[in-house]
Amino acid sequence: MKTPLESFIDFKAETDKQCGNYSIELPVLQDNEQYRFHFDAIACIGCRCCEVACNEQNNNPADIKWRRVGEMEGGEFPYTTQLFNSMSCNHCIDPECLKGCPTNSYIKLDNGIVFHNDDVCIGCQYCTWNCPYEVPTFHEERNIVTKCHMCHERLEVGQSPACVQACPSGAIEIEAVNVEEWLDGDIDTQGNMPNLTDARVSNSTTRYTLPQELPEELNSADEHHLKPFHKELPLVFMTVLTQISLGAFLALFLGTLLSNIGFEEPNFLMAIAVVVPAALGLPLSALHLGRPFMALSAMKNYKTSWLSREAILLGVFTILMSANTVLYFLEVPIFTRTLFEFITLVIGVAGIYSQSKIYMLAARPSWNRRTTMLKFFSTGYIGLFLIALISLMTQNHTASISLLALSMMIAVVHGFFSYEDRRDLYNHKINKEPIAKTLRLYNEYFPIYTKVRVTTFILGALALPLFVTILVGAGEYSNAIIILAISLIIMSVSEFIDRMLFYATSTCLGMAGSFFVGRQR
């Protein structure tokens, strides 16, 4: 008896299709060509063979889907159109996953396949944020991210990818694409699918065949779904705490600067206080990794990944801040310290800048807004309050008054940015759908958190500090210290909640989902 593989030649002669057979005849790639998927939405009947075949092929558990089928509907009965989109990885020409990966775990193979190197992945999941199609998925059991690689092990030996083989409609095919021609324009006419991220975002290679006439509006079957994104608690603490450190360090630096012209110098305790939040926060971030023991390798891809840059810069920032405490301890000349702190501050600013750039992602419209970066910097107001508190505690009252004033000013600015951030969601012009979902998450899923956030902010960052200023003015120092300490806790809680909401309300560009499982992400 012929093995299924041996029957290939007869099979192909008879069916002229890639589907069904376990073997595949691929075009030899010419210069500037790569493999890609072709999906024929006219042929697809939404049977989900491809989804199941993919999981069976790769031994993936049911909740790790490398290939997903989305459902859309438009028109009016009986002229109803149902459209399906079966999608795995689009093996982009400019893969966002690859650019963002801090450990260089993504490799664009010569044949165009975007391949994930499991061994060096640390499970930071940054690619799952970066990909505008939500393709990479974190595999909890494995502690790493995994994704479709077009069954490259099969392709290499002339065997069909599982999805291609399984489709009874022949709707999924592998073909060669000339990258230049594709980018010259075909991508705009054949690379797009309704309710899917524009192919130009990362120069997706998947070619779509769509019905001639599609209704103007096609609704995803998962429109009613409202699922918050991960709360990312380690990152909530890490980002807020490092930002506090930067704010505090700014206060420290300003003090040092002013001490050059005769004002009182910042003290050792302050130098210690500025390090503590960052020193606590940075290691915490490793907890969100699938493989914390490999955390340091996050610095590998400083060439293209903002995450690597953040890791390096904030790491250096924290080391320099620690070194700075030694300078205080050794009481080195003030000029040297000014210079040293200036360099540290620049690195800190660069660090928080990189940190905010991490979230400036085309794939994540609610993050990808001006206010994200502004807020990341202005969150530092807490740091200024912190130094104000230490000034009070170390009886440096003049400094404390000016610091309190400055802190409150920045807090007001931060409040304004926060307001602006929310208001913008209502008027956002592009990516309306994901932004609307973010709003719904705020209003329908997290209304209480939002209220708590606003109340604690007004109380902790504005009302109480104002009261503290009055107390300081009245010479009630010990009460001022207690109340400022309390307000520090309240404002920190407020910012932690705000940051948690920042993550939990994040929505992504991507594909249409299905009724029960949504986008399966």
């Binding site: 593989l5 069904g20 057979n21 989900r48 063979c49 509907e73 149902q82 099969r154």
Partner: protein, 757 residues
């Protein structure tokens, strides 16, 4: 502790578990579940009958792969098929025989059951023991069971869930052709110029058939007729949103148009059919204008459809439950057949009235199981036939039943009346699948004994007094016949789960407790023995197995009967030029079949029409699929499809919960899916789910000829939280419907008068 810590720190990425390695047959596959061997078999889900291999590793089924050399599926499988090995290891499998929920030995279970059966038979007659079986056993098992029931237990109150499924197709073929037997082949999808899919959502239920349509190089004109814009409707060149349960009127008027226009194939009609003149007269009641009102299809479309059908060199009509599950099911099948006979669209490549079966071996049960006919399509009630069968299998002719017993629903009624006291249910789950659940459940309580033989702890098994744990697909050997009459081989890949036994073994052993083993199973020990006898039984019958052998079936990847000396490799289609029909004069009957409105149409109290059906991810009552996470996640509960207009009235949106009620009961808390797939006034709910048991609501009308329930149309009301009283329809809307009914009644009255004249 250390391993937990190591895992937390991410030392292990389980690379071994997720790597691939090369398999000599299927290439690079998951190394973790790379089989030691691949076992040739056939899928055990639907009636398509796909060829596959079961991968076995360390005695466990780990993979299912489509057989690329199998003509049915060419290597593809649907999502259920692709994950089929998982059902064998389901947590719902039953490993031990049980009495009143407690584990017992097989001997105890057999003893208790046989004692009760004997007592009931003695007290109330042998026919007070009834059996309801399935479409999912192997043909050998059906044949063994049929003999057990009819010749052993001497009860003809024996039916299958196939009566809920394709009984109307059987009865329709019988009255039109003189015998059951779908005439076409899947290959006809590849060569047809026109394909009508009526009441058939193949995209969800038989996705692999798309493969054959796909291979059709002629770009066939595809017509989909369905009240709902199903996934299948997307394939259509012409989609016809027909009013629910009006298809018979549609096919009658198409015949009217063909005759009116003189488009009929006179040559074929004269040579091969009976009854043209009666039909002509009868069809006068179905003028297109009238039928347009009934069906909601424009007159122009009706003419276009008829024209296309006649114009097409080869036209194929395929249907499933939309046609069968109707109180007019049998006659609707005959109306479709009429159309093919009038135009000669039958017996040639790419033609035929083709019923697609639901279950993997519904066809096998039709051929062998002694429910609606004697084995081998032999009719009941013919002495000569009975004697012939008795001689073939060497039993006294008095044992051969002379008539069919109660059909499925009649058995339930008889239990309710107290006439039947013992029920043996095999591989079916009426507590989800049967209509009017309230009545069914109260009836079953009146039994002296309920025996359930199943591989899974189904809802019905949970209610059983005695459970016989059965082996399932992949654990036993035999044959399945698919929709195109292809007899396929299923093989044992792994040992039966726990202490379960194959249904075949159960029948053989259990027969010993009644003392008729030697009579009905003379020296049988394995399925092959039944197969050999069945070959003798079918010789010279339409479903002729006589030239088949297990080896040949595997070699040819299934054989389409009739398979005999004249056609040793099987027959692709029935009723080709040299094959006569099975009627007395060897001609097919053109039948005068009458459309009637629904007895319980929508009304003020129940103004919406409920349609039920399936989704691709689930199989029937989910006994097999609910534990397969990848399938169940995609459709974990039932939903109500509701048109935006009705949703607006009820003030609900997708994701909200709603209650449904009908005259038979109420179902709470079903999730709403607002969609343009259904017309306003119509709703759709899948029937798979015991959690949202939609058969609580369904209509208890039945087709008088086939006994098939009218599953597809039930009048219901919806109750949302904001609008608990539901949808109100105006007097005008009700009266429009009444006018329709009146016109119909009037027609009938007039016809009655003509008859008396």
């Amino acid at each position: 502790m250390i391993s937990k810590l190591k895992d937390f720190l991410g030392f292990d990425i389980k690379a071994e578990k997720y790597k691939l390695s090369s398999d000599p047959q299927f290439g690079m596959i998951s190394d973790y579940k790379k089989p030691d061997k691949w076992v040739f078999s056939t899928c055990g889900y639907c009636g398509v009958g796909c060829g596959l291999y079961i991968g076995v590793k360390d005695g466990k089924a780990v993979y299912t792969k489509g057989n690329p050399t199998h003509s049915v599926n060419k290597g593809t499988l649907c999502p259920k098929g692709l994950s089929e090995h998982q059902l064998i290891n389901s947590p719902d499998r039953i490993s031990e025989p049980k009495i009143d929920g407690k584990d017992v030995t097989w001997n105890e279970a057999f003893k208790k059951t046989s004692d009760t059966f004997k007592r009931v038979a003695q007290e109330k007659g042998s026919k007070s023991v009834a059996i309801i079986s399935t479409g999912q056993l192997l043909t050998e098992e059906f044949y063994a069971l049929g003999k057990f029931a009819q010749l052993g237990l001497k009860t003809n109150n024996f039916d299958g869930n196939t009566t809920l499924c394709m009984a109307s197709a059987v009865a329709g073929y019988k009255q039109s052709f003189g015998s059951d037997g779908p005439p076409s082949s899947y290959e006809d999808f590849e060569y047809a110029d026109m394909i009508i899919l009526v009441g058939a959502n193949i995209a969800d239920n038989h996705p692999i058939l798309k493969l054959h349509i796909n291979k059709n190089k002629k770009k066939p004109f595809i017509v989909v007729i369905d009240p709902r814009v199903s996934k299948t409707a997307q394939m259509a060149d012409l989609f016809i949103p027909i009013n629910p349960r009006t298809d018979l009127a549609l096919f009658n008027t198409l015949a009217y148009i063909i005759l009116e226009q003189g488009w009929e194939n006179t040559e074929y009609i004269t040579a091969s059919t009976n009854g043209l003149s009666d039909l002509k007269k009868h069809l006068q009641d179905y003028p297109p204008q009238e039928v347009s009102n009934i069906t909601g299809i424009e007159v122009e479309t009706l003419y276009e459809l008829a024209r296309q059908f006649v114009k097409a060199p080869a036209a194929l009509s395929a249907w499933t439950m939309g046609v069968n599950q109707s109180a007019l099911g049998t006659d609707t099948v005959s109306a479709i057949v009429n159309l093919h006979l009038l135009t000669g669209q039958i017996g040639r490549v790419g033609t035929g009235p083709f019923s697609i079966t639901g279950q993997c071996n519904a066809m096998g049960s039709r051929e062998s199981s002694f429910t609606s006919s004697l084995p081998g399509y032999r009719p009941f009630g013919d002495e000569e036939v009975a004697r012939e069968y008795a001689e073939l299998v060497n039993v006294p002719v008095e044992l051969v039943p002379t008539e069919r017993g109660y059909k499925y629903a009649e058995i339930i009624d008889a239990i309710d009346r107290g006439e039947i006291k013992a029920l043996w249910i095999i591989a079916t789950n009426p507590l989800v699948s049967f209509v009017n659940q309230k009545k069914l459940r109260s009836a079953l309580k009146k039994l002296d004994i309920l025996v359930v033989q199943d591989a899974f702890m189904s809802d019905t098994a949970l209610e059983a007094d005695v459970i016989f744990p059965a082996a399932t697909w992949g654990e036993k050997e035999g044959t399945y016949t698919n929709s195109e009459r292809r007899c396929n081989k299923a093989n044992r890949a792994v040992e039966p789960f726990g202490n379960s036994k194959s249904d075949f073994a159960i029948f053989l052993e259990f027969s010993g407790y009644f003392g008729f083993k030697d009579l009905i199973y003379p020296s049988w020990s394995e399925p092959k023995d039944a197969f050999e006898e069945f070959k003798r039984v079918t010789k010279n019958q339409l479903c002729d197995y006589s030239a088949m052998s297990y080896k040949l079936i595997e070699e040819l990847k299934g054989i389409q009967w009739p398979c005999n000396e004249a056609s040793p490799k099987g027959t692709a289609r029935l009723y080709s030029e040299n094959m006569p029909f099975s009627t007395p004069n060897k001609k097919a009957n053109l039948l005068c079949v009458e459309w009637l409105p629904l007895a319980s149409d929508v009304c003020k109290a129940f103004p919406l029409m409920l349609n039920t059906g399936r989704t691709v991810e689930q199989w029937h009552t989910r006994t097999k699929t609910k534990s397969i996470a990848i399938l169940d996640d995609l459709a974990p509960e039932a939903w109500v499809e509701l048109n935006p207009k009705d949703a607006q009235i009820l003030e609900v949106k997708s994701g909200d919960r709603i209650a449904l009620s009908s005259i038979n009961g109420r179902v709470e808390n079903v999730i709403v899916k607002v969609t343009q797939k259904v017309k306003d006034g119509s709703v759709f709910v899948p029937f798979h789910f015991n959690t949202e048991l939609v058969n609580t609501l369904t209509n208890s009308e039945f087709c008088p000829k086939s006994g098939e329930p009218n599953f597809k149309q039930s009048a219901i009301q919806l109750h949302s939280i904001k609008v608990p009283e539901g949808i109100k329809i105006s007097e005008a809307e009700v009266s429009v419907q009444l006018v329709h009914q009146k016109v119909e009644e009037l027609n009938i009255v007039i016809k009655d008068k003509e008859a008396t004249l």
